[in-house]
Each structure stands twice: as C-alpha cells, then as structure tokens.
Symmetry: C2
Subunit: 481 residues, 2 copies
C-alpha cells in the first residue's frame, strides 16, 4: 500500500496531555464546555487514537459484504450486517427503515477503438446509462468540453458517437475541482441525445492518471434517463483519443453495453441510537452510507464513513453516562444513485426534523480531518468554536461558521432547517480512487482513520452534551414541543 | 499526471559547464578520452537535455501504433514505423531482420468470486496460459506461496482452482524484488497442473496497490506450455482473497478464458546504423524493444527505450563527423514472449558477434539513470571509469565493473562473449506500471527522459570513438579478422 505523505500520530497521547494543560489554564475562554465534558473529550480522543475499531469495521464491511450497489442483494446483506454490528456493539436501539427505489445495473460493457487501429478502451457505464440496442461501430465526434456540445442541434450527431473531452480534474484539499469537472457526467447525455448520437463518451471525472474511469450517476431530465449508452473513459484513454484527434486520424469506436433499469426494489437505512440521558428526543445525527458503487468494495466511499461514525459512537457509549441528547448513527442506503436513503429519511422523519439538533456525515474518504465548518444558530457559534478549540491537538482548524452542507445525505434535512457541521477531510487524493474499481481497503491509512474517529467522537459527544441549542429559533421550537 | 518526486534538470546547462571546467583541470586523470571527445560529449549532453525528440518518438509509437503484442499485426505496423523513423532521421543504413515465432493471444477472460458472494476479480491471463475448456466454477485451494504448492502431489487439486498468494513485491531502486516475486509466475503452473487443478491464480507480481494485475510470460517445461488457465489477480483482489481465506469462508471462483496459441507468425528486429568512420565493422549496440504487452501502449516497456536510444543516436549523427565505430540501434521484436528477437539476432549474427564491441539495452522504464555498471575486458575498465566521470554531472555514479547483463535482449549475445554495460534507471516505481494496463504515456516524465538520452548519447559516442577495446582477448580477435 502506497500513498502520499502520511501524518504520524505516534506520540499523540503526550501532545494531547500538553495541549489539555494549556486549555485548562484558559478555562474561562471555553466555559461553554465544563470540566467534566473536557475530561471526557480528552478520554475519548486518547482512546480513539489507540482504537482499531473503525478499521476493523471497514475491513469487515468490505471483506465480508464486498461491493454493495444500491438496491442489490449485497446492499441487503450490508443492512443485515449493520444491524448485527449495532447489536453486538450494544447500541440502545437498532432499526432499519426500508424504502423502494428504481434499480439500475451496468451489465457488461465493451468499448474499443476500431479505427485507426484496434485498441481496447478502459471505460465504465455511467449510472442511468442505456444499453446499445445494436452493437455500435461508428465515427467519433470530438468535443473539447461540455460547452462545445451544448451548441449541438437535433440530428447533428446522427450515426455518430460523441466524445466530450475536458481537462484532468484539479485535485485539492477541499475537493473543489469535482463539481465543475462533474458537469459533463451529469448532463452531457442530454446534449448527445438531442443531437441524435448513438452513444456518448466522456473523459473520466476523476483526478487519477490510472486507467480506471470514474463512474457515477447522471442527472435525469424531467424524470427521463439516457436511452443511449453513456460511458466514461479513463484519463489515459481520453488522452490517447485527444492525441489521435489532433493528428487528424479518422476515429471510430465500437460500444456494446447491456446496462438496464430493472424495476423497483427495496433499499433501507440502518439506524443505531445511543439514547440521551436528559433530552432523548433531541438528536445529534452522524452518518455514513452503506451502499457503494459496484466495481469496488467501497472502502473510501463510504466504508470509512461507516467505520468512523460507528466507532466514534461506540467510544461515547463506553463513557460512564450517556450524553444528554441522543446520538444517532445513520447508515444511509442508496446514496450513490441520488441520495435516495437521505430523502426517504427526511420524508419519514419530517414531523421530527425540528428535534434534529445537529447533523453531519463522513463521506469524503479516510484521510485526516483538517477543518471544522458549521452552519448553526449564530447564538451557538461560540459552542462550535469551543469544540473547535478542543479539536486543535488533532491538527484541525476552525473554518467558517456560515458554510452550509453537512455531507451529501444531510442535504435533504438541511433543506428542512436542520443545523449542520462538517469535519472536512483532506481530499487531495480522494478523486484518484472515488467511484473507481480502485476504491479498496488498502487505500486506507489506519493511523489517519483513527484521527477521524477521535474528531467525530469528541464532536458528537460535546454537541450532544452541550447546553447550547444549535437550531434556528431554538427556543420557539422547544416551547412548541 | 502524478508521480513521485521529480528531479529537476532546469539549470543543468550551467551545472554542466561548471562540471566540465572541473574535469578540464584534471585532464590527466581522464586522458583515455581526448579533448575533442570531451567537447563532443559536453555538446551531446547539453543538446540532449534540451531535446524533445525521445518523448516525441515515444508519443508517436504509443499513439499511432498503440499496443503491439509480439507477432501481431500491430507489431508489424511498429516495424514499418521504425523503418520510416530511421529513414526520416537520416540513419546510414536501415534494415529489418524477420524471424518466425509462435503466436499466443489472451482472448477474453472473466474471473469472479462465486462464493461466499459474487464479486468480479481483476485478473489477467499470463502469457502461454491455456483456455478453460468448460467454464470453471470451483473451490479455491489456498497456498501461502510457491514453496507450499511445490509439495502438491498428483491428483491433490483435482476439481479445484489453486491460488498462490505471496507477499507484495518489494520495490527498490534496482528492481531486485522482481526476480524472487516472479518465480510463481514462471513455474507455478507446473505444480498446479501436476496436482490436477482446473486453473491457477497467482497474486500479481507487481509492486502496485492498484487493481491492475501484472501479466508476463510463463516458462515452458520441456517445450510444453500450461494447458489450464493461469491468471494473475491484482494485489487488492489477492488481499481480499487472503482476508476471506483467513475468515474461514468457503471460497469458490468462476473462470472463463479463451487464451490460445495461434501457430507461427512473423516478427522482426529493426536495425538502424550510423556507420563508423574508421572501424565500421566494429559495432557499439544500443537497444530497446518494439513489442509491448497487449493491454497497454507500452510507454515505459519499452517505448521509452526506443525513444531514448534512437534519440541518442540521432544526436550523435548530428556531430560533424561519425565516431570511429558503427553505432547500431536495434529495435528488438518479441522481447516480452521470451527474448525471441534477441535470440534471432544472436543466431543471425553469430559469425559477427566478435565484432560487437559493446552492447546495452534501455528496458527499465523512463526514470533517471543513477548508476553505470559494466562487464568488459578489465584492460578497458579505465575507459569505462572515464566515461563514468563524464556522466557524473547527470547524477550518475560508477557502479561495479564485474556486473554481467546489459539488458534482457543483450543476454543471448552476452552469453556469446559480447561485452556489456548498463545505465541503470531508478526502478522504484517501475513495477507499479510494468506489464499492466497502466503502462501509458502519461507515466513518462519528459525531463527525466532527457537525462536518459544525455547519458546514452555520451556513452555510445565515447564507446564508439574510444581507443580502448572492450572485448575479451580483443587483440587476438582483431588479428584473426
């Protein structure tokens, strides 16, 4: 296993002890968190940095369940696994909330250059792609980027295969390059279909220079999905096409795809609760998602999120007393195919979302957390700041207090007004593996995973035990209850 | 494109100028190389570090020809490309020497875990593998390493698929880990067949932690090749099998392979000569190989070697006069499948190998050269040392003077007594890409390729123009001529 520079957390215990001594002398600046809470936070942090639990959970999920496409039999096995895990770890309440979803499978795909010479191209069907009704062997029409294909008129691409190139995604700590790069994956098919293309190929959205193309869901247009095959080519294969195009070679490609929609099936969210000791109806929600893309075992996306949040909650459960509020771990189902579990949760709990005091999701891999951002009632910002202070020895800085979004599966409840925070992971190499066959267990650095658990345990515990209320107009709401 | 630390050669020209001034004042220690030769060497080095030619050659070969399996139509196109290139670049003599070879193709391969659950495994057929006569779906018998399977007796593996695990190859600058790791690829099948296995899977030989398995030729046993499918699993897939095995899960795998031998076909070596001005019959041979494995465009293996050696010779051709001896660039055919071009060359030129004064091959990727080793007449070691001194500003150290082997395709002629040197490249990440679908142009760092060209140009020029004779009993031989 090889990855870029790995931060070492050896000697963390000593660093923490020193850091806490410092915090102690400045107690007045953080008196929103009392001495007992600080001691518990320190204990959680130290235990988390020594615990292998999160890694063991990811290892178990990826090894014993394997790939777990939304709606598949494997995702069902993952739910059963999640229930069993929750019970074994002693959560107070374990439940599954099922929902129905449309099921798409990629089937088989073969893509090969057929002129100027035969060469297999490494490609993956995008989520929602159609099949090839006949095997396609057709000239390629090259588009430099999504903007170029937007001008295509009806019939312009009849009998052709469109290829949208574009540049290699810019890697960054925040993952900021993903959104722009991803647009061609989302809506490119709409232009290709309008033009009458037989199929669409796009340059892979990922930042990797390996021959693993990046899959992911397309966007439906007025509830309609692509009827033609839509595939991503790995970056080296896209480079090759670009070079051949620049040489002026006549390019042809053959595409055979059996992707299809298979009707409605069941998925579900698994919910593990640690019931609060004083305000059990109030919920601090930490989440990951249980489904993965089908081409890999989803260690980074999102086995890591499951491991981090479950292990963090388990450490909190081992404290002498439960925090005041309920801590809820949600293992969302069917995230990859459109946040279906998240929308199902928000719908089912619509009448109780006002009791969701704070929500966040770990769904950005397994590298270290470097920043805490939030979007809560401004009156409670000081408490988030104080939590941020406690997290400093883990190498975490306090970011903006007006940053919406607590993770993909938090979007539906955030829209309904649930306050959010995010413990931002270093995403510099996340899109080298994300949504590719290469998202496997060996990509996780155990020491970095532990830092994540420490941050989640401390944050969830302090938020659940805090006096502050993070909700907008919190007082009005609690009077209404 | 992302790769580990890249050495910068910016400012090389100035560093060279300073280095040469130093060498100048110590002229007496290197008087085996005269002032004119030193000036020419410096000019070659400076030009090479500014020249894009080698990269352009690799780009052309990998883009315009693509993958070029030994014996294939694509390898024939590569020979035509090589001839055209040699003529365009103004070599004095361009020729092709054809030979006949048995042709193996991998066909289609599907490998998937079928118990405890269904998961596609990323696998590649090893060169010489047999096909599955019926589709195989059978229990896996796990062997920790090659030693373990060596004890298998006839019938022990009837109805089973053997899996030889082993550890991840140790990466190193010299590539020393490859030989030991490779043994299971070479001879594992012989044990599996003896045991009556339906098929053999081995852990990929490469050092990469990506889901690209490493292909490569097996060894025949008394002219017999494997009759069963023999495949390598990517390291993450082998990890997964190992974990499942340790959990005690009953493991089953399905394998369908259409690999086959297709009878005899033509391959060939392309030879580009710069004819020597004083001793044209004496040959300094620098080589790469033209064929690649079929799953990638073979940029590192061995497009780079072709680019480096052709560009180096072209720079020498641009000097005001030809060096005394002939410089021969050989683009060997069919290297990957058993050094077939190299054996054909040694056989065809058997009566003239005594005129091969020195031989070497670039076939270890495209990273910088760090060491010069040799195996020549001890009387000529001082001249090799002097060449090493000239190479120092490129960051190259002088290694052993008793190190046999000038590269794979040099083996047959070295066995016949041809003296060899090797300009050793940094192989730390070579086996992350070698023999995988990921051996593509983006893995080459242009600045590092230039350093290779500089070293080859200087070395080939000085060896061809040197007074010293590198051959064993050189005098006796020249008297015989």
């Amino acid at each position: 296993m090889k990855l870029p520079i790995v931060q070492s957390y050896a000697g963390f215990a000593m660093a923490l002890a020193i850091a806490f001594m410092t915090v102690h002398t400045k107690a007045t600046t953080t008196d929103l968190i009392n001495e007992q809470q600080k001691a518990n936070a320190q204990a959680l942090m130290e235990k988390a940095l020594k615990s292998d639990l999160a890694y063991e959970i990811v290892e178990s999920l990826t090894t014993e369940i394997g790939p777990r496409l939304a709606g598949s039999e494997a995702e069902k096995r993952a739910r059963d696994w999640g229930v069993k895990l929750g019970k074994e770890l002693g959560f107070d309440r374990v439940s599954v909330e099922e929902f129905t979803m449309p099921y798409w499978v990629r089937g088989e795909l073969k893509v090969a250059l057929s002129a100027p010479y035969a060469q297999e191209l490494y490609a993956t069907a995008l989520g929602g792609s159609g099949a090839s009704t006949n095997n396609i062997d057709a000239p390629i029409v090259y588009f430099r980027n999504l903007d170029e294909i937007a001008y295509v008129k009806s019939g312009d691409l009849a009998g052709k295969v469109a290829f949208i190139d574009g540049d290699l995604m810019v890697p960054s700590q925040t993952g900021a390059g993903y959104g722009p790069s991803n647009q061609k994956r989302r809506v490119g098919w709409q232009h290709a279909e309008r033009g009458g293309a037989l199929a669409l190929m796009i340059r892979s959205v990922g930042s990797n220079s390996q021959r693993f193309p990046h899959t992911g869901m397309m966007s439906a247009l007025e509830d309609k999905w692509a009827s033609i095959p839509v595939v991503a080519l790995s970056n080296p294969d896209a480079d090759q096409l670009r070079r051949l195009y620049k040489l002026g070679e006549p390019l042809k490609v053959s595409i055979a795809s059996t992707a299809q929609w298979k009707g409605d099936v069941s998925s579900g969210n698994v919910i593990l609760d640690l019931i609060g000791s004083e305000r059990p109806e109030e919920i601090v929600l930490i989440a990951g998602h249980l489904d993965s893309w089908d081409e890999a075992t989803g260690a980074l996306d999102d086995g890591a999120g499951i491991g981090i949040t479950v292990a963090a909650a388990k450490l909190i459960a081992e404290l002498p007393t439960r925090p005041k509020r309920t801590i809820r771990v949600v293992m969302f189902g069917a995230e990859e195919v459109g946040l279906l579990g998240a929308f199902a949760y928000a719908k089912k709990h619509a009448d109780n979302l006002h009791n969701h005091v704070l929500a966040t999701e770990s769904d950005f891999g397994a590298r270290t957390i470097w920043r805490l951002v939030s979007n809560v009632n401004p009156d409670a910002n000081a408490t988030i700041d104080a939590i941020g202070k406690i997290l400093e020895p883990l190498g975490i800085v306090r970011g903006g207090s007006d940053v919406p979004g607590g993770g993909p599966d938090i979007i539906p409840m955030a829209r309904a007004g649930v306050p959010t925070i995010r413990l931002e992971q270093n995403g510099m190499d996340y899109f080298d593996y994300h949504h590719t066959p290469d998202d496997t267990l060996d990509k996780i650095i155990p020491e970095e995973l532990k830092q994540n658990v420490a941050a989640y345990a401390v944050t969830a515990y302090l938020a659940a035990d805090a006096t502050a209320d993070f909700r907008p107009e919190a007082k009005t709401r609690s009077e209404e209850d």
